[in-house]
């Protein structure tokens, strides 16, 4: 009778072994991915028209994680391996140009792990528009003509809008210049070079006319 039990016990052990193999992934410790960087996308962010992606590579160029995102998303970049500093982060914006996708990829090297990146539209620079309110005619006498530079390239009359000359003619050593006046400049600067030296003068409080 003892000998008859041996095969039954063997079969039971085998069946028990099969069950343990099925449960193996749940029994062994599992490595869970950890967030190593966070991308916060502003709801008003305007990236690529078609789609936007962010992905990361380690210092050896191996891909760590990559996700597509839309405005308002918070993207957690994750990895099952420890991500140290100096990883690379890549932003891909896909737009439409000439009836086909156009890709703009921007890569930043040497980014520190466990940080965050806010994707927002940059605030607009303060910009004060100057409006043209009139024109003044200026006659420049005894202009020293020089062979290496034309008078039109050399003479500048500037205000907050940069060079405000609208037209210029030269007759002999006399140069007639028309200059736009704006509502927010009081003075103008006339400048030119003479034999490689800079000359200038201020034109105080110009008014429309000559």
């Amino acid at each position: 009778m003892k000998y008859c039990l041996i095969p039954i016990i063997t079969v039971s052990i085998s069946l028990a072994g099969c069950g343990n193999e099925d449960a193996l992934p749940e029994i062994l410790p599992k490595t869970l991915p950890k967030t190593f960087y966070t991308i916060s996308v502003d709801p008003a962010y305007t990236g690529g028209m078609i789609e936007n992606w962010v992905f990361a590579t380690d210092s050896n160029g191996e891909l760590l994680d990559g996700r597509s995102f839309i405005p308002g998303d918070e993207v957690q970049l994750e990895s099952t391996t420890e991500v140290k500093n100096n990883f690379n982060i890549h932003f891909l914006a896909v737009d439409q140009r000439s009836d086909k996708p156009y890709l703009t990829l921007t890569t930043f090297n040497e980014v520190d792990a466990n940080g965050s990146w806010k994707l927002v539209n940059p605030l607009p620079e303060n910009h004060t528009e100057a409006n043209v309110t009139g024109e003044v005619q200026i006659k420049i006498l005894n202009y020293p003509d020089q062979s290496d530079v034309s008078f039109s390239d050399n003479i500048k009359i500037s205000g907050p809008m940069g060079n405000q000359i609208t037209s210029m003619t030269m007759s002999g050593t006399t140069v007639d210049v028309a200059v736009a006046l704006t509502d927010n400049n009081s003075n103008l600067i006339l400048s030119f070079s003479k034999y490689r030296h800079a000359y200038y003068t201020e034109i105080m409080a110009p008014v429309s006319g000559s």
């Binding site: 160029g61 806010k118 006339l190 800079a198």
Partner: protein, 210 residues
């Protein structure tokens, strides 16, 4: 018209330049420095030997200096926004050669230290990709090939122009700030562009090469 002699003179020598530009501008309170401003001195030189007097004028609240010169395959610019220039800027030797243009095996030589570089790549075959790699010197040159070995599979399948074996060097630029602004500060600024505590200075050297 009473033309006033320059009050201060800076002599700049560019013995190998094929194009030189000097701009010196003044601003008043309320002016936007992004605009051209009052041109105090603005000149272009095409013979490449020597640039003479530069000029200065009192009476503005803010000054901007731009000095730029170009050689066959690169240009260099000195930029300063603030007070007037107090010294002659020194221009070192820029990056001049790219020996292995494909992004998969990129290599280049650089002759000056800089804060950050932007290397631009494209895919000449498809014409629908622009890739900017922003990096400190240590990782771009010559180890760019370690930046990325593969893009995410989904992106590669959807956009064939992301083929790393076709993407090659287009042009590059480098910025060397004149204060203690570091590459890490730059990353912090770009990742929080509207609220960054530390921002880039308004005085720097800029290099661009083809």
């Amino acid at each position: 018209m009473d033309l006033k002699q320059v009050e201060k003179e800076f002599t700049l020598y560019f013995t190998e330049s094929i194009y030189t530009y000097i701009g010196f501008y003044g601003y008043k309170i309320g002016d936007d420095a992004a605009n051209t401003g009052y041109i105090i001195s603005e000149r272009v030189d095409n013979d490449g030997n020597m640039f003479g007097g530069f000029g200065e004028i009192n009476g503005f609240d803010l000054y901007r200096t731009v000095i730029s010169f170009k050689q066959d395959n690169y240009s260099r610019t000195y930029y300063k926004l603030g007070s007037a220039m107090e010294y002659n800027p020194y221009f070192g030797q820029p990056l001049t050669s790219v020996s292995k243009p494909l992004i998969a095996d990129f290599s280049a030589m650089v002759g000056v230290p800089y804060l950050k570089s932007s290397i631009f790549f494209d895919n000449p075959a498809s014409g629908d990709l622009e890739w900017e790699v922003v990096s400190p010197r240590s990782q771009v040159i010559p180890e760019l090939k370690f930046m990325i070995k593969e893009v995410p599979t989904e992106l590669k399948a959807k956009y064939p122009s992301l083929n790393l074996n076709e993407i090659s060097f287009n042009h590059g630029s480098a910025v060397q700030y004149m204060d203690d602004f570091t590459y890490k500060d730059f990353i912090l600024y770009r990742s929080n562009i509207n609220d960054a505590v530390k921002r880039a200075s308004n005085e720097y050297y800029y290099y661009e090469w083809e």
